[in-house]
Every structure is written in C-alpha cells, then in structure tokens.
Amino acid sequence: MKEFLEGSHAIAEVIKSCKPGVISAYPITPQTHIVEDLAQMVSDGQLKSQFVNVESEHSAASVVLGGSATGVRVYTATSSQGLFYMQEVVFNIAGMRLPVVMTCANRAISAPINIWNDQQDSISLRDAGWFQVYAENNQEAVDFHLIGYRLAEDKRVMLPVMVCMDGFILTHGMEAVDMPEQEKVDKFLPRYNPLYKLDPAQPVSMGLLADPDYYMETRFAIQETMKESLGYLSDISREFNSVFGRDYKDLLVEEYQLKDAEKVIVAMGSVCGTIKEAVDEQRAKGKKVGLLRIITYRPFPYARVCEALKNAAKVAVLDKAVSLGAYAPIAVEVKAAFYGKKQGPKMISSFVAGLGGRDITLETVHEIFRRLSTKEVNSDFVDLKPELLKEEYGE
C-alpha cells in the first residue's frame, strides 16, 4: 500500500516489520529520526524489541554485535562521525560473520564539521567486509533493508549489510512509498535461525586469536563469499520481486538509456534521480547519453560494469566522496574494471561533486557531460567557488 512518508519513518516502519530483537540507538543527524521512530514504536508496544540507548556509537555497534552473537536479529543506524566512531566494531562484526543490518544516513565528515550529505562516511569503510548498497529513493531504501536481512542471514553469506541512503535528501524527504505488508515480509524473511550462537546449552567460543597460521584464511573466506554473493543478490532480488511485485533486475547496477549511449555518467545514490532527468533532457535533443547507477558498491560488480559500459565511448564517474591524494573511490573501481580489457570506453574521466551537501543540480550534470567532451580528467571538482579559493590563499 502506498503511503506518503518521511524517509526515516519509512525505514523505521520496515524495520518494525523485520522484528529485530535488539535495537541500539545513539543520536546523530541525519540518522536520528529513524531510531526516534523505533523508540516510539517500542514504547507503544507495536514493536517487541529490546531498545538499548547506548552511550556512544562504539557501544551501539557492540550491542548489536553481542545481540547478533546471541542469535537474534538486530538493527542500528548511524551517520558520519558516528560511523567512524564505530569503525573498529564495524570491521569486527564482519570478521565474526554476524548478519547485522545497519542504516547509514550518508553525511560528510569533519573537519570542517558539516551535517549535510555526501558519501564520504560509508565509502571510507568500504574495506570492512560489509555489503554496501546505495538507495536512489526511499522505496529502494525500504526494500533494501528487507533484502539486506535476507542476504545477511543467508547461510551461504553470514555477513553484515549497510544500507546507505543520502542524508536529508532521502532521510528527511517525503515520498510515496509502497510499504511492504507484514504477511509478505514474514514470507520473504523467515525468523533468523543462526548457525551458531552464544548459548549455555551448546557452549562455543567466538572471537579467538588467530595467529599467522590461521588469520589469512578468514579474510580469504570473506572475500570469496563477497564474490559469490553477487549472484545471490540477483536470486534474492528476483524472489523479492515475485513477493512484492517490484522490478529489481539484480541490485548490482541499474542501466538507464545505455543502449546506444556514447557518453555515460556513472554514479551512486539519490543524485541518480537528477542525472536521469538530465539524461532525458539531452535525449530529447537527440544526444546519446546515459547513466550507469551503481547500487551495490561492496562487493563491487566489476563484470556488470564492464558489460554495461563496453560500448560507451566516454564515461564520467561522479563521486560524492574523495580519496584525498588519490583517484576518487568509484572512479578507481570503474577504471580497474576495464584494465586489460580489449573492449571499453576510450575515456574514463572522474568528477567530484556534492561534497558537504553542495547541491548537484541539473546544470551540474550538464556541466559534467560538457567536460566529458574534452580531455580525460581525474578528480575534477565540479561547482567549486573560485572566489572562496582565492580568499583561502589570500591572493
């Protein structure tokens, strides 16, 4: 049933339908509305979770780690500094193969402190062993949580999932969302039945010291699972479609107007809505442009990216994050995907936009298409204000 909801509230509603046993919460903008709504649901008796108000994000992640290890479904959410503060626990959760699902309401990283959206936070934790899926709109954000639990708890997987949604743009945006009905959720997402858990009836030790004789295989195992999971994601999305009547292809990438496209933008998250509009405008004028949207950033769908872009002459990768002193994060992957390949774009340029909440407008997107006409560029910042740069250096 379609409802007109704030993004955060829609997430709280879908989490309620997933019936997590333990929820941990710590405030940080723009994630906070989600856990506030969940707190109210628990307080009203609509949700039977244990709601733990922790004293920090480090503990927020540790509480869901402990809850998950005890065999129950768990949930938490965070943003930006909060995600960084829980970083070592984030890695730890994946290393322990615990199927935690967490929302990251994407926000810029301090300093300077800035509460607005970019994707630097989750992207900086790309190596943690978590799935990272990026929603374009709130419908996807809702659906990805359901799919996230299903994937995380799959016995072949047993890895955590981070559902990334752009802060404010999605979390605080009002959209019509088709909310999954409880019976369908129960059908799609059976009760979590852990492989192993902390239980006196069957004592196990978890989190052991692995010396050089043992450590490497544990990392290799995650790497292999990640690779195999690209396929599982396709299977699970097909099943999701059949239960909920949606139309997800494989949840790895979305191809928009790519068939005969000569110039293609690669991007991730809510900005793709704007890019689609810009593509439509240019197509109306007969320009052969398109969009490749990355949905799953970890594991990175290299093969799908190559397949989708093999006939594009020029590719512009748009990052809402930087790797200071190096190529931008998504650009690195796209370039790597084509390394050594015979067929592929002649040019892969990389653009950085929208940092710290700077608006990415239709004009920004057109500007990127324009800059794609000339020579290849790397980490080319779009929409900079030259007057501010002058002030900074006192020219």
């Binding site: 046993g21 108000n53 402990g66 010291l209």
Partner: protein, 292 residues
C-alpha cells in the same frame, strides 16, 4: 592444576598468573549457565588461541574496550528470547580495558541497569602489551611507560578509584577481591549473580612478569597487598559498606620489597611514607583494622 570443565587447563598463561586463577574462580562460582564477554588482554589471549579454547561456557571476545557493551547486547537478546532469568551474563577485562579505554562502555552498562556482572582483573598495568601504566597502576610504580629515573619515582598518580566510580552509578553491588583469597572471590561472585542489575567486582591479580616477583610468590604477594591496606577488600550493597576484610596492618614496605616494580623505592623513606599514607587512608576509610 586439576582440570575444570568450565575453565580448562592447557591454556598458555605464564606460571604464577593471578588472573588465570581468579578467572577460574569466577566462572566456577558463576556456573555453566553463564555467557562471558571478554575484553582483549592477557586473559583473552592465553585462553583462546585458535583452534583451542579454555572456556567451557559460551564466550565471546570482540575488542579491547567493549565487553560491557557486547554483554549489554547479549543481555538484551536474552531478555528478548525470554531466557535471561536462567542465564548469567559476565563482562570481564583487565584494568586497562576497564578503567581507561573501556570506562565509557562500562559506565553505559552500569547506568542502563543491565543484569550483568562486570569483573575487572586488576594486575595494575597493561600487561599484554608489555607492562605499560594504566589508570589502575599504583602510585610510584615502575612500569615501561612510568619508569623510575633521576627525575621520577615511577607512576605519578594513585590508582583511579574504580570501585567508587562504579558505586557512583547507584548499582546494587560493588566489591573488591584478591587472587590471594580464592574462596572470597567465589563467595562474592555467587552473591553478585544472585542480585539483579549491574554488579562490579574488581579482583587484584598479581602478575609475576610485570610485578617482578617469583612465580611461586603469587599468593603471598596478593595477600600482602590486602594485609598492608593497599588493596582493601570490601563489599557495598545498595550503596552501603556491608563488609570488609579486617586486617592487622603490616607495613607497606613488606609488600613493596617483595616486587621488582617497587625496588627503586626501597632506599627512599620519603616515598615509602607516601605509599604508607595511601594504605593508612584506606585502613581508615574502610575501617579495616581488626579489633585487638
């Protein structure tokens, strides 16, 4: 040492490790229906080197500073499953993980009222990384990061008052114990787990390597700490001091001279006096003196 099904022998603790004995006392007192969350540190390392484990109860190690938070999640999950009534949850760690880096997580656990027993094994330094000072290192102790020298007689601050900090959270049970009195540890653990809510027990555990005493001196050194008043043993129930181990105080010098970490003090009566003052203060504060 004979084998115990809950804490099996064959672990890799150093000879004379006070923490190994104390940890065994704790889990044997708590019993098989217990889940443990353990901080990084000596205890974690010497009991669970893959593929072996010394633990006969469900046990989890996540990180250095988060056992209190992991245990909070375990307790919450057990409540959700309706199993909390029958299962004890223990969070434990060394002094560094408890009083320094894990203090925030511990404070959160205590303040939230979880039904968890927190056990701090206090060997008075970061031992697993090579004897660096922690917030629970005593005054004038020589450690690798508070070395004595011409300008310093070791650690410049007294121990952080962790039991008082725990107490200030208004929790129902706080106690100190010593590896030198194993039965007392067990009695206190049993009492603690019989009480609902957050509990804190801090156990003094000699470390022959870090304290520099002979490995067969673990028990006598632990007892001396209690008997001179430097490690007062007490219990607080609902904020009220309900018991203390009475002593006929021995001079602190006896305790100090038994350990290499205080060797630099031995010809320094002025410094010894300062340490004696700390003991005297404890003796007064906790009313430790036995009636003649």
């Amino acid at each position: 040492m004979e084998n115990s099904p809950l804490f099996k022998s064959g672990h890799t603790a150093c000879a004379g490790c006070g923490q190994a004995i104390a940890a065994r006392m704790v889990i044997e007192a708590a019993g098989a229906n217990t889940i443990i969350a353990n901080n990084t540190g000596c205890l974690e390392v010497f009991t669970t080197k893959y593929p072996e484990t010394a633990w006969g109860v469900p046990w989890i190690h996540s990180l250095f500073e988060n056992s209190a938070a992991v245990a909070s999640g375990i307790e919450a999950a057990l409540k959700y499953l309706g199993k909390k009534e029958n299962i004890n949850v223990i969070a434990q760690g060394g002094d560094g993980s408890t009083a320094d880096i894990g203090l925030q997580a511990l404070s959160g656990m205590l303040e939230r009222g979880h039904d968890i027993l927190y056990v701090c094994y206090d060997n008075e330094a970061y031992m697993n990384t090579g004897v660096q000072r922690s917030g629970l290192t005593p005054f004038d102790t020589n450690t690798t990061t508070s070395p004595s020298g011409s300008q310093s007689s070791g650690n410049i601050r007294p121990k952080k008052p962790m039991p008082e900090i725990a107490l200030a959270h208004g929790i129902p049970y706080v106690a100190t114990a010593s590896a030198g009195l194993p039965q007392d540890i067990q009695r206190k653990v049993k009492k603690a787990i019989s009480i609902k809510g957050p509990k804190y027990i801090q156990i003094h555990v000699p470390c022959p390597l870090g304290w520099r005493h002979e490995t067969d001196q673990m028990l006598p050194v632990a007892k001396l700490a209690v008997d001179c008043g430097l490690y007062p043993l007490f219990e607080y129930e609902n904020g009220v001091l309900t018991g203390q181990k009475k002593i006929v105080p021995k001079p602190v010098e006896e305790y100090l001279k038994a350990q290499g970490r205080f060797k630099h003090l031995l010809n320094n009566p002025e410094e010894i006096k300062k340490v004696q003052d700390i003991a005297d203060n404890n003796i007064m504060k906790y009313n430790l003196k036995a009636q003649a």
